[in-house]
Amino acid sequence: MKRRSFVKKAALGSLATLIGADIVFGATMPEGYTPLALGDPDPFKLFGLDKEMVLLNDKPWNIEAKAHLLNDNITPNSAMFIRNNGLIPENININDWRLTIDGESVKQQKTYTLKELKENFKHYSYQLTLECGGNGRSEFTPPAKGNQWTIGAVSCAEWTGVRLKDVLEDAGIKSDAVYIGYHAADIHLSRDPKKEPISRGAPMAKALQDETLLAFKMNNEDIPIAHGYPLRLVAGGWPASVSGKWITGISIRNKIHDGTKMKGKAYRVPCKSVAPGEKVKDEDMCIIESMPVKSLITYPKSGAIIKREQKLHINGHAWAGELTVAKMEYSIDFGATWTACSINKPANRLAWQHFSASIRFPENGYYEVWARATDTNGVSQPMLLPGWNPKGYLNNACHRIAIKVK
């Protein structure tokens, strides 16, 4: 028996050495990365993403969809773009999670637990379009610095939570309130705890809209970790950076919020249009509010070859920031002529709308199907790139797909 236990101990000893080997191996992993599955930082598994999603950046995570992955009316998590400015918070404990309402213009500072938020306020669900301000950045010349989004940094999921308005009014809003600014639990890339990776906000009018939520569910489930679990501010129709993730605080400000990425050139465009490449002073840059009218053809996937007698069915989504899309058209002759598509009303304000059309092609050859949306103010998407701006925001140029008729 004694001998046997000796053998056992020896086996444990070698196991310990094996674990030692794992630690040595771990030391070579990039700092700041928490291996969920040892040595397996596969974001597609980590975040439950479709294999065709495009990884732009892994520190911080920035991942976009392709047009055809966004065909669902309500975007599933698997096709939802991820735009993170810092590192995802570590060791989230929902029992300890607090939301503090403070700022110069709060009547009395107030702190809520998640349970209190959920129990004390009425719940609402809305489908809300979230598009990254820099979606389409990759097309600008001269190029703009930052993640080179193509077309896939947009989503429209169903968000459930409490109205920000109800919570702010519960704490009390002073008459001099101008803006709200959020604070969150994400970690700055430098790991400096004094730095916030991002702390943006919106004017009171946007904060007090019915559809502006403090959400705890996305598509009827807990919000996925990459999208702000356990609490996210969701402000549809505005640059998605307004919809702060992992929210721990909302400040009611008596001036425009001055948090990280509110100042300088971040999420701002020249107040007056400039020539491509022109230098613009910070004071001549204005904060982006509502996103411009835009659309995506999500079916078929670009590159379809069809037979001469075959009708091509297309469908997709269109959105217009604070407005709705009044008209949707397609062109198969590079904009020389346009034909109307049918388009649905939005499920609710700030939700994207679905369009479809059936196309017959006059003869064999190479075609591009271009889609163009027009908002309720009569403003349409340009076929060329819109006004150049230093940070490459607001590219709402028409989307197109390639088709061959044989």
């Binding site: 080997a21 190029p143 930052g146 996937k301």
Partner: protein
């Protein structure tokens, strides 16, 4: 007739036990002797792990077809300076996606120094900026590019 068989079996069992005990003791004694001669022998597995790490480190700077495999950077003069100074906070993927002139790369470095905690690059700055401006220079795309990388497929009705 049954008894002698049982006895035989017992002898057999005893024989097996003694043989295995001799074997175990033998191995034990042998191990102890070996240990006395060379105490380092017990660290054999640990040495293995160190060897493993070295293998990984060798792989870390593998270049294939002019590309540094681990980071995706183009292999050129300044590669190591770029890896050592530009991938501590953010991913190499952020650098590779971008296209800037020398002047713009410098502006970006200044911005990172001012707001993101990037250190003074000293003599490496010139090397880094030259590497970036040469290998990640802007291309003119005009107002709208042709559709590229189309994967053609037959769409059935």
């Amino acid at each position: 007739m049954e008894r002698p068989k049982e006895f035989k079996d017992q002898i057999k069992d005893l024989y097996t036990v003694i043989t295995s005990m001799v074997l175990v003791i033998g191995i034990g004694i042998l191990s102890c002797v070996l240990l006395l001669i060379n105490p380092e022998i017990i660290k054999l597995t640990k040495d293995d792990s160190e060897y493993l790490t070295i293998v990984i480190e060798e792989d870390e700077d593998k270049i294939e077809n002019g590309i540094h495999i681990r980071t995706g950077f183009i292999d050129d003069k300044g590669l190591m300076e770029v890896i050592n100074n530009c991938t501590n906070c953010h991913s190499s993927k952020l650098v590779i996606q971008n296209r800037m002139s020398k002047e713009q790369w410098i502006v970006t470095i200044r911005w990172m120094q001012k707001t993101q905690g990037l250190w003074d690059l000293g003599g490496n700055e010139e090397i880094i900026v030259n590497y970036l401006a040469k290998n990640y220079a802007p291309t003119k795309k005009g107002r709208r590019e042709n559709l590229t990388t189309i994967n053609w497929y037959q769409l059935e009705d």
